[in-house]
């Protein structure tokens, strides 16, 4: 792999600091004894390996063969040979190469942000924001991660900085509640659905007419299974990164692209803050309800 030059003048060296915090978050940051030292940033542009479509691996002949531990489910046509256009099989399969691209791009950008924060002498990076956006042409994506590097006033740091999406009062509450931030956690799963003949026809609404099914609606098993699998793969990916710690303030974004009737790409993305309890919850009385008179 070609080495990328990420050497820039670390923010903070010039004497003034930069920060992505709002005024309120900045004030809360100072109240916690954290002082911002600079806006740490990491970038990575990745080209995704072109995936194999069922068409390419042999439409009408044999389903795609994924790696041994990857998720795959096959659906066979119960009708026999109907026509050359009739699908003899359908398949749900994990697009592991997309997940690998995403992991590599994100972790490279993340590491570059962390390196920058380390060079600034930061203890942590707060208010992290990340984006994954298409760049230049199809199959090329840019990963961007930035956050405000902070250090504990009057102390120097030798360890790798911790990171969190939280900032301001929400971060303060997390500390108060006994949770120390460790790092941000993100994960993606990608499942491709190549519809079987039945899935294709029920998704376009012609199933009953063509195959004599009753007019009753039926559950579309292949789609349901793919969606459940995408979520389960995501959950496993996240759990593997937690090492027994907790994940707070999780955000789950469901992305789905439909190429044709029942031909889907399902890609949920999950973000959260990995935290570790450093003290027990203080006794917390039942909150007193209030009514604002404005």
């Amino acid at each position: 792999m070609t080495t990328v030059s990420t050497e820039v003048h670390p923010p903070g060296e010039s004497g003034s600091f930069s920060s992505g915090l709002s005024v309120a978050d900045f004030a809360a940051c100072l109240d916690m004894g954290l002082e911002p030292v600079g806006l740490a940033q990491g970038y990575c542009v990745m080209q995704s390996q072109q995936g194999l479509s069922p068409m390419q691996v042999g439409f009408g002949m044999s389903p795609y063969q994924p790696a041994p531990n990857d998720y795959v489910e096959n659906y066979h046509c119960p009708h026999g040979i109907v026509s050359t256009e009739h699908r003899m099989w359908g398949q749900n399969y994990q697009q592991a190469w997309i997940e690998r691209t995403w992991r590599q791009g994100f972790s490279s950008a993340y590491k570059r942000m962390l390196d920058e924060a380390t060079r600034m002498g930061a203890h942590g990076v707060i208010g992290v924001v990340d984006n994954v956006t298409p760049l230049a042409q199809e199959g090329i994506v840019e990963f961007r991660i930035l956050g405000t590097a902070v250090r504990v006033s009057g102390h120097s740091s030798n360890a790798a900085p911790w990171t969190t999406y939280l900032a301001g009062q929400r971060l303060a509450k997390s500390f108060e509640a006994g949770f120390a931030p460790l790092n941000i956690v993100t994960a993606i799963s990608s499942v491709r659905v190549w519809a079987s003949c039945i899935t294709q026809y029920v998704m376009e609404g012609t199933g009953a007419m063509l195959y004599g099914q009753s007019n009753d609606s039926i559950e579309i098993e292949q789609i349901v299974s793919a969606r459940a699998a995408a979520r389960e793969l995501l959950r496993q990916s996240v759990k593997a990164q937690l090492h027994g710690d907790q994940l707070h303030s999780v955000e789950l974004v469901l992305r789905e692209h439909e190429f044709g009737h029942g031909d889907l790409e399902i890609q949920p993305v999950l973000r959260g803050n990995r935290v570790r309890r450093y003290k027990d919850f203080d006794a917390f009385t039942t909150p007193r309800p209030t009514v604002r008179l404005t």
């Binding site: 929400r170 579309i220 459940a228 404005t294």
Partner: protein, 260 residues
């Protein structure tokens, strides 16, 4: 899928989409988050049922009702697997297409602190936030599950003579209004039926989504859902909220954002 599910069943870490505030609120009433859980279902709708007709479009209604029920069942199974006693903060995403209906539910499984797992028949689901759930518990109530009801109804077409006679008038289109009321009545009745089946005394935070669909201009859809609740003890515990009068200025004289 079965192998995927068994692989993660032994995991002991906690994931939650609750905010810190919500988690603190949960702890204040003796509950804790366990895991992020989800349930999805997609039901087919037969071709042609959106066309001309009268009365309820039973195929579409059945698909919607079944998709909701199956998604809730899967959410409960997921919660059982995670060791939860219920699910709070359920985000409900539903969409109705010409050929199918989709329902997707995502929420956080919760349980009383240090409680042991229970069976799927006792798991509750709720779209109340962590804060509202805590308030409900503190007030002596308990959530029992998600109630839902839906109805799709044809708005009968007017005769050509009626259209011509009415085209230059300001006039209510009673065919649409009537269809709306029929759909509303039927859906709300189904909501009540599912609430009663859960032995609830009421439904809170009821959401209503209604109107025509882009692919079926002569059909009205009405869907509603909410959290079924019941008193845990004999009587409601009064919360006696404290009145607060904020002393902040009503008008902001200086907006920090203008410096950006």
């Amino acid at each position: 899928m079965a192998s995927l599910e068994s692989a993660s069943a032994s995991a002991t870490t906690t994931t939650s989409d609750l905010s810190i505030d919500e988690e603190l609120n949960l702890h204040s009433v003796g509950w804790q988050p366990v895991d992020l859980v989800s349930g999805v279902s997609v039901f087919s709708v037969s071709m042609g049922i959106w066309n001309w007709g009268q009365g309820e479009i039973t195929g579409a209604t059945k698909a919607h009702e079944n998709a909701f029920s199956h998604a809730i069942e899967r959410l409960q199974r997921d919660a059982v697997r995670a060791g939860g006693h219920g699910v709070v903060g359920v985000h409900i995403e539903r969409s109705v297409h010409r050929s199918h209906v989709e329902v997707s539910l995502v929420g956080t499984a919760v349980r009383p602190i240090d409680a042991v797992p229970i069976g799927p028949d006792k798991i509750f689901t709720s779209d109340l936030s962590g804060r509202d759930f805590s308030l409900l518990i503190a007030a002596g109530w308990q959530p029992l599950g998600l109630a839902h009801g839906s109805s799709f109804v044809y708005a009968p077409r007017r005769q050509i003579s009626t259209v011509l006679a009415q085209q230059s008038q300001n006039i209510e289109l009673t065919n649409y209004t009537n269809a709306m009321y029929v759909a509303r009545e039927t859906a709300m009745e189904r909501l009540q039926t599912t609430a009663l089946a859960l032995a609830g005394t009421g439904v809170v935070q009821v959401q209503v989504v209604e109107g025509p669909m882009s692919f079926a201009s002569h059909a009205i859809s009405f869907a509603t859902w909410g959290t079924v609740v019941r008193l845990r003890g004999d009587a409601h515990r009064r919360m006696d909220p404290q009145m607060v009068l904020p002393m902040n200025d009503l008008h902001v004289a200086f907006e920090a954002a203008t410096l950006q």
